[in-house]
């Protein structure tokens, strides 16, 4: 008989016109709405809690400590013309090229900040000595924060500067920065 198409809602029902009161055999239908509700609830939950992004890491290499054994070893001599020294303070970088201690100040701004200075210095060194000869000496000041530390290392990665060293700041340099700050205050 053609009476059991009841489950298929699309097809027109036949056999309706026959006068006999005939109970169509109905296929049991399960209302899936609650299941779907639950399904999507769980889906939403897992989508939101899943951590797709793992934290990233930045590799750092520090020089070994000078021990008793290598007290007599002379530190390698480098030409001062290749060097730029950065004294990193909170959000500010004092820098000088070579040995001349005339400080200048800059910051981390992407266009006009330290990146420009480093690239300029590198071009200078490259013109005189060749590629990859510039050495950056990074000295963190006490008032710096961790963010400055990451920023300056990041800056090295951005300009692809391989030769850099983390060095402890000397008291002399601290004095120079202090002096520089004072003169800046006066001129303002």
């Amino acid at each position: 008989m053609a009476a059991e198409v009841g489950g298929d809602s699309g097809a027109p029902k036949k056999g309706k016109k026959s006068g006999k009161a005939h109970k169509p055999k109905k296929r049991p239908r399960i209302d899936m709405t609650p299941m779907v509700d639950l399904g999507f609830l769980l889906l939403t939950f897992f989508v939101l809690t899943t951590t797709m992004s793992t934290p990233n890491t930045m590799p750092v290499v520090v020089p070994p400590k000078i021990t008793e054994k290598d007290k007599d070893v002379e530190p390698p001599k480098i030409s001062e013309d290749k060097v730029i020294t950065l004294l990193v303070s909170r959000g500010k970088i004092y820098y000088y090229a070579g040995l001349e201690k005339n400080l200048q100040v800059t910051d981390f701004s992407p266009k006009t900040g330290i990146r420009k200075i480093l690239l300029e210095r590198r071009a200078e060194v490259e013109a005189n000595y060749g590629k990859d000869e510039m050495i950056v000496i990074i000295k963190m000041m006490e008032d710096a924060q961790y963010r400055d530390f990451v920023d300056i290392l990041d800056e090295m990665a951005v300009i692809n500067q391989k030769k850099y060293a983390l060095v402890e700041i000397t008291p002399e340099e601290k004095d120079i920065v202090e002096e520089y700050r004072k003169t800046m205050e006066k001129t303002l």
């Binding site: 899943t50 951590t51 990233n56 961790y146």
Partner: protein, 206 residues
């Protein structure tokens, strides 16, 4: 001939494919989900362009956050596996002579990070979770030059798992001297290569 009458019908949408898809996705997310371990020390890491993902295994994380004064820092220590944690606890028992019972060991093995001096460890493991949270807000592993327990933690962790790598997860506002002390501690132990955990930032176009 039967006359076809336009019949009002309930439009039912066959939801089966949708349900199939939904459950497929659920299964996928359930299998791939990795719950972020609750952090004892709240840290807001700075961003950088570094895009190397942090290895999930064989890693110890030194967490650093500024303290209440903003001058000093608080240091927490965590390793990734239960096995290593238990091995570290064994070492602490040996070295300092504290006795930990089974319950304390179990608790220690599930805590992702520890930030109390060794002397307070036993009482810390015996307090309730709410109290531990309170302690976590002010405590720290001592890193002074006279009493540097972080050194011991690193030593124990490296003993327990020689393959272990070191990551520093520090808050961006941590004063640099604290970071310098931690790096010094690492250098003292001839660790010259470590990782800083950062969040990803787009690389600037040059």
């Amino acid at each position: 001939m039967a006359k076809f009458k336009a019949k009002k019908q309930n439009i039912t949408i066959d939801m089966t494919p949708m349900v199939d898809l939904a459950f497929l996705l659920i299964t996928f997310f359930m299998l791939t989900v990795k719950f972020r371990a609750p952090e004892s020390l709240e840290v807001h890491v700075p961003s950088s362009i570094a895009d190397t993902p942090l290895p999930a295994q064989d890693i110890m994380v030194i967490s650093i956050a500024p303290d209440a004064t903003g001058k000093g820092g608080r240091v927490f220590f965590g390793v990734d596996s239960k096995h290593t944690r238990l091995a570290i606890l064994e070492k602490i028992q040996e070295r300092y002579g504290y006795e930990f019972d089974e319950q304390e060991k179990r608790l220690f093995s599930v805590l992702p990070e520890i930030g109390v001096p060794f002397s307070q460890l036993k009482s810390y493991l015996n307090t309730s979770e709410a109290e531990r949270k309170q302690v976590d807000k002010i405590s720290s592993i001592p890193i002074d030059s006279t009493n540097n327990e972080l050194k011991e933690w690193i030593l124990f962790a490296r003993y327990s798992n020689p393959k272990i790598r070191i990551a520093i997860r520090a808050d961006e506002k941590t004063p640099y001297p604290v970071i310098a002390r931690v790096i010094e501690t690492l250098r003292d132990q001839k660790v010259h290569r470590f990782n800083l955990i950062t969040t990803l930032e787009a690389q600037p176009k040059s």
